[in-house]
């Protein structure tokens, strides 16, 4: 009969009207500035640069290799390499960016810079309240503003950060072990050279075995989740300065 569908529909809207007062999950909106939905762990807004320690200049992980600049699809990253080299976290001498700008009005938050970065230096922020009064200069974010401490990264993406830290620690340990081994080998070679050909066949027993890499599977998978296959692929080449850089 005419009108039954309408009455059914009205009953439904009435139910929703009442339900919106009674059931919490019906109301999907929150009153934004006062009440915020906590950012999801995977959430991403715009990239930032991670630095270790307290000094943004000294601890910056970025080595100005310009991979992200090249891979960025909308080309919103601009990097100028510094002329002086500084030691990175493993103590290797690396370049640092003199200028590192991201135009967030162009950036499309695709996270590709994060994925391609071999140094865990650029990560995604979750801060989305970036209104500025100047839409040109104001939205061009410079290095000093982009640099954020590792503790901040740990706060916003705890799982990722833990994996990255473990990875880096492992690499550092490996590098140190290698350095020690190298040093030992060098010393040995020197001593061997000094001793002439007296003791040729003695194995290098002095070198300690490399420390076990943290093999926690969860961390492992999470680590691959941050940086994707790129990390795994270039894992062996990590300690080398990338070829593009120089």
């Amino acid at each position: 009969m005419l009108g039954t569908g309408l009455i059914k529909g009205m009953a439904e809207t009435a139910r929703n009207f009442v339900g919106s007062f009674l059931e919490e999950d019906r109301l999907t909106t929150v009153e934004y500035p006062e009440e915020r939905i906590p950012a999801k762990e995977a959430a991403r807004s715009f990239p930032f640069l991670v630095f270790d320690g307290d000094d943004a200049e000294k601890g910056l992980r970025c080595v100005a290799c310009q991979i992200c600049e090249k891979e960025c699809p909308p080309q919103c990253i601009f990097i100028l390499k510094d002329t002086a080299k500084k030691p990175d976290f493993v103590g290797k001498m690396q370049f640092q960016p003199k200028v590192f700008d991201i135009d967030v009005s162009v950036c499309m938050s695709c996270q590709i810079c994060v994925e391609v970065c071999p140094f865990e230096a650029i990560k995604m922020d979750v801060d989305f309240e970036l209104s500025r009064f100047d839409r040109f200069e104001g939205l061009l974010i410079h290095k000093d503003e982009l640099s954020k401490p590792n503790s901040y990264f740990r706060k916003i993406h705890p799982t990722d950060a833990a994996a990255v830290d473990a990875n880096l620690a492992a690499e550092k340990a490996k590098a140190e072990a290698k350095a020690v081994a190298d040093a030992a080998a060098k010393a040995k070679a020197a001593s061997a050279a000094a001793a002439g050909l007296a003791a040729p066949a003695k194995p290098a027993a002095a070198a300690p075995p490399p420390p076990p890499t943290p093999a926690d599977p969860i961390l492992k998978s999470a680590s691959s989740s941050t940086a994707g296959p790129g990390l795994a692929e270039t894992g062996s080449g990590k300690t080398h300065a990338p070829a593009h850089g120089s």
């Binding site: 009969m1 005419l2 439904e12 809207t13 929703n16 009207f17 919106s20 019906r26 999907t28």
Partner: protein, 391 residues
Amino acid sequence: MIEWADQIFVLLKREILLLVPVALQPLASILLSVGPIMGVFATLFAATTVLERKGLGRIQNRLGPNRVGPFGLLQPLADGIKAIIKEDVVPYRTDRVLHTLAPILIMVAALLAYSVLPLGRNMVALDLDAGVLFFFAAGATTELAIFMAGWSSRNKYALLGAMRAIAQMISYEIPLILSTVGVLMAAGTLSTTGIVEAQSGYSGLFPNWYVLTPWGFAGFFLFLIAATAEANRSPFDLPEGESELVAGYFTEYSGFKFAMFFFGEYLGLFAANALAITLFLGGWNAPLQILDWVPSYLWFFAKLLFLIGLSIWVRGTTPRLRADQLMNFAWKFMLPMSLVNILASGLWRFTGDGVLGWLVCGSLVAGSYYALGLNLAPKNAVTKRIYRFAT
């Protein structure tokens, strides 16, 4: 005490009038009647906009406006300020005189209708012998205003919207007026206060409202539907159907003029609902005898708010009709139905309000409703469809 609370405004007006010199008394009387009506209904308009937005929000599982003032109650104030300070953009080729005159006329026409509405016991600005007729005459003027708005804008959407609006208003005016005929026959008067008084008193537990008769029930809904169409409310909001005509006849209006259209439209809705209350819901009469002590104007406004709530509810539920379906509905359903309803109310007069009357009139109304519904059916009713599935 009860009497005093009920008549407080009437007494107040009388007292104030006594302070005024005799020569100025007619003018003062006019002002004292018109001022409060405009003030009260402007407030009601403001309240309704909040109510509507919040109600629709809740129906749609949203919160609705909640920023301005406590619970967003001051939202209309903010809207009003915004409307006033906004630039009044008038397109270059408009007919400026008519463009300016249209919103004024629409407000005037809507406000005129209030002069015959009894808002409470002894509370009517103008107790005309032909009050109902006056109401419809005032309502007919809005068509002219809408035409002026649509035509003077020199905009195709506005013109289409105006044409739709006028066609719709003229079509629905007929069932609107015809659906009141039963009441006029039963009450024997065209005076609004007379109609309300005819519905006072109680038979048993129930009040003597016309809505509690079969023909009155049908008439009430016919009247409400037609009034909704007259007020261009959903589901009859085609003249301003934003998905089709942007904003219909007031596409080219902005700022305060736009607000005036908005205001006029809501005033029209209130007036139509108030007339529905007067004609069918016993006006300012209390629904139960034991509740008679509540002041009459409160009853009136309670009923008015109820009807406004109903229209918000319907708006939150229905999609919009198409223009030809709207016309079909008016001419193939509303018109015959209201004609049958007149017949039913005539029969009611002879059969009385006993079992026989209910049987005869009730079956007449229900039967014709069913038959007319079927008549619309071949094109409009849901035909159950079976869907095939491929695996």
